[in-house]
Symmetry: C2
């Protein structure tokens, strides 16, 4: 494998996160999956882990049939060691229910874990996030 | 720096996670902080990020004044590259309110990011988790 400078790795990872964001905001399952490693694990809040390409495809198909998203990454800090990278992000998001009703807003933070693949590309292997906002309690 | 075999690193990281767990379950702020890097960032659900030792100390002091915890890590998978390690965990937890009332139960997943320090020890640099359970809605 060709040795690439850290700046090229950093740029590739930022590009992957940017691709993920625009794919989610476009509601495009195929483009979302293109960012993910085959055995990637997504860890959404208030939902069990979504493991591997088939589960990811079902999850996003279902999600995009219900909501139109506008995610923004408001900060990014990347640490790279060898074939492993961790990106710490903060985000704001709104989710517009396609069945009608007002958009749901959120702001929070997350970690993207990227792995360098055999072909030299960086793919998402883990994605976890949670909201900064308190849970609205009924009582 | 001495080159150490991967198994020693893995054992050191598992030990740190085990120390964290027993410190949280004992409500011992000093022992929790001993696992954390000076500039570590904790990313709790429904709460802003807690950044650096001072904020971590305040956060845990406040938390342990309100709850007695029983956390269990139900699985662990560790990936190590150079001075960076990512541990994927699943957990079950109960939090007993010290003011009285029934314990609150939870089950979820998280990522521990560890960094190898100059002295060779592994310290926690990021910790993020979230619940598998749906949010109870009032409506």
């Amino acid at each position: 494998m060709m040795t690439r400078p850290a700046e090229a790795d950093r740029a590739a990872i930022l590009k992957s996160s940017s691709d993920l964001l625009s794919a989610v905001n476009a509601g495009d399952v195929d483009r979302v999956l293109a960012v993910w490693a085959e055995d990637g694990v997504m860890m959404p809040p208030h939902h069990p882990s979504v493991e591997g390409r088939d589960q990811l495809a079902s999850y996003f198909r279902n999600l995009f049939s219900q909501f139109r998203f506008e995610f923004v990454f408001t900060s990014s800090a990347i640490q790279i060691e060898g074939d492993l990278a961790v990106e710490r992000v903060t985000y704001t998001a709104s989710a517009l229910p396609l069945a009608g009703g007002p958009p749901l807003g959120d702001a929070g933070k997350g970690l993207h874990v990227y792995g360098r693949q055999r072909d030299g590309t960086w793919k998402l292997v883990k994605d976890i996030w949670n909201s900064d906002r308190p849970i609205a309690r009924s009582a």
